[in-house]
């Protein structure tokens, strides 16, 4: 009985123009999306290599104690599934001797239309196109059969309603798999033709499988949603209007409105304002430190009966003693100010990060009422272009700054002497340090978020997709058991 119902469902769907329409859309959009994203990846890879080459070229022989090393974010192969936030993510870090490294996005707006309309990639094809196709597949499964009168004929036989409903869900899902699998296979073959990417290798293939499975989970949720709508309506026209409404709300409105609500509910200062605040604190503390150093210098010069207005980089006699004492006593002074500065900067950064995180959490949690949002979070994080990549880039930038500091900045010791009348300074290098042996610094060990880490961070969205499946299925199942078939 169940097999008969499933086969009928498959046959009926395959005979329907909706299936032919869906096959066409899947076969065109999914491979095209993957191909377009591949080309985008190839372009980013070329740009990355070119930036590295030019940076290497311009930096050769120009490394000094305050050299600003540049690190570039390498493109990730997995990003062919979703371009995600790629255009907005920082892609360059500039180290700084004082520790205040700068991160920036230097891509610029060289393709404004792409930013305006969004790009075609797998995430777009699945999130928008497949989701509406899944609803179109099922919106009249129940209400349409009621309209035709065939539902009455089916339940007039000894077919349990639970079996009828299950067969419809399973039949539609199996039919939907056909265009999806074919389209994804074509997409993989297109990727395989690329010289820069092997889709069957290691983590990329694992990511492909995971993305396929998560896509199935998402599609199944949307099919179940279509079935639910169908059991809550009694004519196919009403069902169609209802699924369009539901799709607009869940796929278009909720993901876009959630961040806007979060901004209103929990406003946060812009990064620009925070940077200015940090700069002001740094300048004020440096000014204060400078004053204290000068006072100390003057005090010591007076103690040795020396003229504080006269400084030299080659002190002798009493002046040498005064300088040595100054070198000794300024260490705790500078350390104290360094700690004050660090504490102040960390507090500002932490407060800013916490505020941003709270705002982001509000937006994410609000948007999670839509399966489309959950799906987008998972796919974009797996593709390395999700919201977490900004934090990941920041971590990599900090590591790069430390690397350069240890290899270069810490090797130079700068000493400044002087009071209110003027200063003189000297720079010394650490023992054994040879500037000539240094190579140009590269952020070559950039750590992208691994597939495992992405899955660990996105478990809640995957779980929510499972939950949406259960919820929509259970609600549809219960509604169909009470459905008036007359």
């Amino acid at each position: 009985m169940f097999g008969t119902l499933v086969i009928k469902e498959i046959q009926e769907t395959i005979h329907n123009f909706r299936f032919h329409f869906s096959v066409l859309l899947c076969l065109v959009l999914i491979p095209l999306g993957m191909y377009a994203a591949l080309k985008n990846y190839e372009q980013r890879l070329t740009e990355y290599r070119e930036s590295m080459r030019l940076y290497e070229q311009k930096s050769q022989g120009k490394i000094t104690y305050n050299f600003r090393a540049e690190g570039y974010r390498p493109p990730l192969q997995r990003s062919v599934f979703a371009i995600g936030l790629e255009d907005y993510l920082p892609n360059k870090v500039l180290t700084e001797r004082g520790g205040n490294f700068a991160i920036s996005n230097e891509k610029g707006i060289n393709n404004p239309q792409a930013l305006l309309f969004g790009r075609l990639d797998f995430l777009f094809s699945a999130g928008f196109v497949l989701s509406i196709l899944a609803l179109i597949f099922t919106f009249s499964s129940i209400s349409g059969e009621k309209e035709k009168g065939t539902l009455r004929l089916i339940v007039a036989n000894s077919a349990a309603r639970s079996q009828v409903y299950l067969a419809k869900v399973l039949g539609n899902f199996l039919v939907f798999l056909i265009p999806l699998i074919i389209a994804m296979l074509i997409g993989v073959l297109l990727l395989n033709a690329s010289s820069v990417l092997n889709p069957f290798s290691g983590e990329f293939f694992q990511a492909f499988i995971v993305i396929f499975l998560v896509t199935l989970l998402f599609i199944f949720a949307m099919l179940n949603l279509g079935m639910l709508v169908s059991t809550l309506t009694h004519s196919s026209i009403t069902s169609m209007a209802a699924v369009v409404f539901v799709w607009v709300i869940l796929v278009l409105a909720v993901p876009r409105i959630s961040p806007m609500i979060a901004e209103v509910v929990y406003p946060v200062k812009s990064e620009q304002v925070v940077n200015i605040e940090k700069q002001l604190i740094r300048e004020n503390l440096e000014k204060e430190l400078d004053l204290q150093r000068r006072e100390l210098f003057e005090k010591l010069m007076a103690a040795y009966d020396l003229d504080p207005g006269f400084t030299t980089t080659r002190p002798e006699g009493a002046m040498k003693k005064a300088y040595a004492q100054y070198d000794e006593e300024k260490i705790p002074l500078e350390e104290k100010y360094r700690q004050r500065l660090n504490t102040a900067l960390i507090n500002i950064e932490r407060e800013f990060a916490n505020n941003l995180q709270t705002q982001s959490r509000i937006a994410v949690n609000l948007s999670r009422i839509s399966p489309a949002s959950c799906y987008s979070y998972v796919i974009s994080e797996i593709s390395g272009n999700g919201p977490r990549e900004t934090g990941n880039f920041y971590e990599n930038a900090r590591e790069f700054q430390n690397e350069v500091r240890e290899a270069l900045y810490d090797k130079y010791i700068v000493k400044t002497y002087g009071g209110r009348w003027g200063t003189s300074s000297s720079t010394q290098t650490a023992e054994g340090f040879e500037l000539g042996k240094l190579k140009v610094f590269h952020m070559s060990n950039y750590k992208h978020i691994s597939l495992g880490a992405a899955l660990r961070s996105e478990w809640i969205d995957i779980l929510l997709l499972v939950f949406f499946n259960i919820l929509f299925f259970a609600a549809g199942f219960v509604a169909f058991n009470r459905y008036d078939v007359r």
């Binding site: 009985m1 009928k8 009926e12 329907n16 009168g149 009455r152 007039a156 077919a159 008036d484």
Partner: protein
């Protein structure tokens, strides 16, 4: 055998659609339920098919209480609706194949289906035609073919001749007579008093949910069924 014992249906809005219906349709008998729209004829069929739950009373199919064991009860009943629509993108044979399997007939061949379609006088060239190209009469014949293939002991027909041309209706009635001869218990709801008079062994007139009159074939032929029916209908109007 079809039995209704004090079968009553009152909808949530308070409408009493069926009021203590007591009815028995024996094997080899055609019972025609006549009545105006809203008299409760289709409600009775819906209750037998468990499409809706009764407020009180019991619908029985072969002695099985439909409300208690609907799946078992429905093994013994076939149903032909007013507008047989079926699956338009399927051929007639594919439709028959699906409903035959639902009805428990799993080993029928293409030739078997063709033979059944010949029995109801469907033209040969329509056997592998998509049902969306069928006329209403052809669809009704296909509907009765489904009932024939299921070979259930009881048949429920809801306005089966509605919208059929006289030739098609006559052919349909002939098929019903054949089913009666095979010993089926047939309950047919209809407005078509002339077809009822032609084929029924007993007729019942329904009014406002109640079965107000039952006559055997001998009685309604003797008393002039049209006159009795009109009298009851006029009472209803008055």
């Amino acid at each position: 055998m079809l039995q209704a014992t004090d079968l009553t249906k009152r909808y949530e809005d308070g409408l009493l659609a069926l009021d203590h219906l007591n009815l028995e349709v024996e094997e080899g008998e055609i019972f025609c339920l006549l009545g105006a729209n809203g008299a409760g004829k289709t409600t009775a069929i819906n209750l037998f098919l468990n499409f809706i739950d009764p407020t009180s009373g019991t619908p029985l199919i072969n002695g099985i209480d439909v409300t208690k064991d609907p799946l078992e009860a429905k093994k013994y009943v076939s149903y032909v609706s007013e507008n047989v629509m079926l699956y338009g993108n399927f051929t007639a044979r594919q439709n028959l194949d699906f409903f035959a399997k639902l009805g428990g007939k799993k080993s029928l061949t293409k030739e078997d289906y063709h033979m059944y379609m010949r029995k109801v006088s469907l033209p040969e060239n329509s056997f592998e035609m998509r049902v969306k190209n069928y006329s209403k009469g052809m669809r009704q014949k296909l509907g009765i073919t489904i009932a024939i293939i299921k070979d259930a002991q009881n048949i429920l027909l809801d306005e089966p001749t509605s919208g059929l041309d006289p030739k098609a209706a006559a052919e349909f009635i002939k098929i019903l007579a054949g089913l009666r001869n095979q010993g089926k218990a047939i309950l047919m709801c209809t407005h078509d008093i002339f077809r009822a008079k032609e084929i029924a062994d007993r007729v019942g007139i329904m009014k406002e949910g109640r079965l107000v009159m039952v006559r055997t074939r001998e009685e309604f032929l003797e008393d002039n069924l049209e006159r009795i029916y009109l009298e009851y209908m006029q009472e209803a109007v008055a």
